[in-house]
């Protein structure tokens, strides 16, 4: 069965303390992996799309990487405003729509 998991479920960091979030997936043919940020009470905000193993994307303090089985979202020197839930989603090659979200990682960055 296709599956997307994320770890840790929740993460508390001190401001400036770098860390990584993990997204693991088991799909038969990955078409794309997406990272979103979601603030409480709001819709997900698009961050990155990754298509092939070895690909990397960066935006401010965030860097996303992709391997054949997982993706990492690296957060360098985070600030309190980076506190949010980070969601990954995979899009699989198969007939019909298959855009599956992981459960998310709740990140809290303390000042």
């Amino acid at each position: 069965e296709d599956q997307v998991t994320q770890s840790p479920e929740a993460l508390r960091l001190q401001e400036g303390e770098s860390s990584s979030l993990n997204c693991s997936y088991t799909v038969s043919g990955l078409r794309g992996l997406f990272w979103y940020r979601q603030d409480p009470g709001k819709g997900p905000e698009f961050l990155f799309t990754l298509y092939s193993a070895g690909e990397e994307k960066e935006k401010e303090r965030l860097k996303a990487t992709l391997t054949k089985k997982e993706s990492f979202l690296h957060i360098t020197a985070p600030k309190p405003e980076d506190s949010a839930t980070y969601l990954c989603a995979v899009f699989e090659y198969r007939e019909g729509q298959n855009f599956v979200f992981g459960p998310g990682t709740r990140l809290s960055v303390l000042p």
Binding site: G43, T49, G96, F99, P103
Partner: protein
């Protein structure tokens, strides 16, 4: 990027009633989708809203419960019918612009509480 709006932003409804949620985009899009996000959980795809034809529903979701319309390339509605407290969720629409990226962009969501 486009502006995606949803109406209402939130509502409190009585059991047995229906609510229609609107999703408006300020530019034409190829694909529109409806998701449900139950409290404390991630997003689950309800259906793909197809312009000019019936929506395509995911397993566990049926047209009688969640009728969807998409009359044009910028607008869609989702109706939650005969509501029960289990329907209390955030309902989100998303769009894809069809530029080969498969990336979906989300609206702000509609927070529904059913009493």
């Amino acid at each position: 990027s486009a502006v995606i709006s949803q109406k209402p932003s939130r509502d409190i409804c009585q059991r047995g009633t229906s609510l229609t949620i609107q999703c408006q985009v300020d530019s034409q899009v190829t694909m529109m989708f409806w998701y449900r996000q139950q409290p404390g959980q991630s997003l689950t795809l309800i259906a793909t809203a197809n312009q000019g034809s019936e929506a395509t529903y995911e397993s566990g979701f049926v047209i009688d419960k969640f009728p969807i319309s998409r009359p044009n390339l910028t607008f869609s509605t989702l109706t939650v019918s005969n509501m029960s407290p289990e329907d209390s969720s955030i309902y989100l629409c998303s769009v894809e612009f069809g530029q080969g990226t498969d990336t979906q962009y989300f609206g702000p969501g509609t927070r529904l509480t059913v009493l």
